[in-house]
Symmetry: C2
Subunit: 121 residues, 2 copies
DNA sequence: CAGGATCCATTACGATACTG
DNA sequence: CAGTATCGTAATGGATCCTG
């Protein structure tokens, strides 16, 4: 997800977007930050299943792309806060829509899936 | 992108969605199909950079998830047409928004990037 | 607390060649 | 035309241990 389309023509801006936002965690992290500033540990707890390694990496990429800010407070137990930039906020409705769609699909579509493993017990 | 969250609680439906839609090509393919039915070769030409191998795989996964239909016409030069299901169509606005965002980001944000290679000469 | 370093497994992606 | 088969690279994801 970090290859180099870079200079693709006008077609498939969505492909460009997915290069930046694709992957398992990016949009989930963004969605958390839409709700407000989070510390590293808060994000970790909010995203069960992610390892700190991945969380760190994804946050650095989001920071490099100008979607989140990283603020370090040099205190005795160190504190680092992550927040959305204006650009990051521009994805707010998309993350919301995707979340809504995911919930709808999981609760509605999967039930009536062909050979779905959820017969009405 | 095909692991097993499956039974995640109510948090992070977006993560579930990205498991299904993440990756470089899925949403780009869906976006093409929003415009109407496409043959395999048409999709391939519409998505420069994709290999037939990837296109085949992604289409099969989309089909398995109930987002697209695959219709085979047993003719002399074989013909296969792909189209969106109703569920696939439910992603129409999201693909549109993401495409719009990608275009906006590429044309607006990247220019004024921090330490960007484009100082106002 | 927030991470970096290291090692390892799995998956995504891609180039090329071949086929009904 | 619309694939399948084979092979290789790179990215992703994770476990564990270490540090300012």
């Amino acid at each position: 997800m970090r290859s180099s389309i870079e200079e693709a023509p006008d077609h498939c801006a969505i492909e460009f977007a997915m290069e930046m936002l694709g992957g398992r965690w990016k949009l989930a992290i963004l969605k958390q930050l839409v709700a407000g500033t989070h510390r590293f540990g808060e994000l970790r707890r909010a995203l069960p299943g992610i390892t700190q390694r991945m969380l760190t990496r994804q946050l650095r990429e989001l920071e490099a792309d100008g979607l989140v800010t990283r603020t370090v407070y040099r205190e005795v137990p160190p504190r680092v806060e992550y927040a959305l930039t204006d650009v990051g906020h521009s994805l707010e409705s998309i993350t919301h829509e995707l979340d809504k769609w995911g919930r709808w699909y999981r609760e509605t579509v999967r039930r009536e899936a062909p050979s779905g493993p959820c017969p009405p017990a």
